[in-house]
Chain length 205, copies 2
């Protein structure tokens, strides 16, 4: 729900208030706009859905695993395209890369996500380790996933905050839209965490 | 460790690069500087210590509870002073209150924290409910605490990002200092979450 709300708000912002989305456009702002859209919808939203697909949707375990793996893989690919968009924008505008807090946390979260995906892929899709080892490692996979989700949320919020301060918005319609967009991204992250954690409490009892 | 690192970096930033800290100063920037310091050291750091005091420090249960309650109460009081500092700064500078994403998330997290504290205080310090109800409610208290911790971290990072963009820093010493400060705040939050969660896994097994 919050994820869909955030996607809709994001599209209203980018299409109505900003110049729209086009990765191959000659207008650098249209190239840039691909970045927030893909990083939220492609990356955060799909990762959240992948987490919930594994824990809260009733299905056979192997199906859950493949859906979880496939959604995370799609998120990874879309995330790479999204990061590419912002570097392309910086190139066109002659802006320095990777100086801000947003970029530091973002690139850190993304690299750790790739490691987490490879770790999950090698361990769970092709199981060779013993059951005890896998249970112990699965705790780390779950905790790591949660930490990465919150790191991605932090990155999204710092990114929107940066754009917001850069455009020197105060109390106008666009500023409210961006604030509500950011709030729904945060609430999306929180509800994913809660539903996955409550799913775990239920299965324990 | 990360918490102490972040406190040291914060003090270097505010005392060496900025004008220092003084809530009653006539220099509005010195009043403002009280805000990041108290919100991190007074609020996030003490709350994190309170969470770890309850879960990871070996002590009698009642002592753990009182330390947890008392640290959270101190955090609440210091947080109120910290928020007061920023409103005082806005008054002096004629800046609008509460328009930015940082302020929205921050005030939301703080109000929820007060509710969480009252909830915890009424339920655990003066126990009247049955054991089953208390176990169920304690799950919510734990999840709520984690969500609030990450909300507070998000608020801190958006605040630093806002200050960073506002000062138009790029690649200089102060920008690296702020980025490392923000990274250590994030890593402090993550390590608190991990140590509390691993503490729970250990006590389950």
């Amino acid at each position: 729900m919050f994820g869909i709300l955030a996607t809709v708000l994001m599209l209203i912002w980018l299409l109505h208030y900003r110049e729209g989305l086009d990765l191959d456009s000659s207008n650098p702002y249209r190239v840039f706009n691909v970045h927030p859209f893909l990083m939220f919808f492609g990356f955060i939203f799909l990762v959240g859905e992948a987490m919930m697909a594994y824990k809260t949707v009733a299905a056979d375990r192997p199906i859950q695993k493949y859906v979880h793996m496939f959604l995370n893989l799609s998120a990874l690919v879309l995330g790479i395209v999204g990061i590419h968009a912002t570097f392309k924008f910086h190139d066109k505008m002659n802006i320095l890369d990777m100086y801000s807090l947003h970029s530091w946390i973002g690139i850190g979260a993304f690299c750790l996500f790739i490691l987490q995906w490879l770790f999950g892929f090698s361990l769970f899709v092709f199981p060779r380790a013993s059951v005890v080892t896998r249970t112990r490692l699965s705790h780390w996979h779950v905790l790591g996933g949660r930490v990465l989700l919150y790191m991605a949320i932090c990155t999204a919020l710092t990114g929107l905050m940066q754009k917001f301060t850069f455009m020197q918005l105060t109390n106008n319609r666009e500023s409210y839209l961006i604030n509500f967009l950011a709030l729904s991204i945060l609430l999306f992250g929180i509800t994913v965490d809660l539903s996955v954690s409550l799913g775990r409490y239920t299965s324990h009892n």
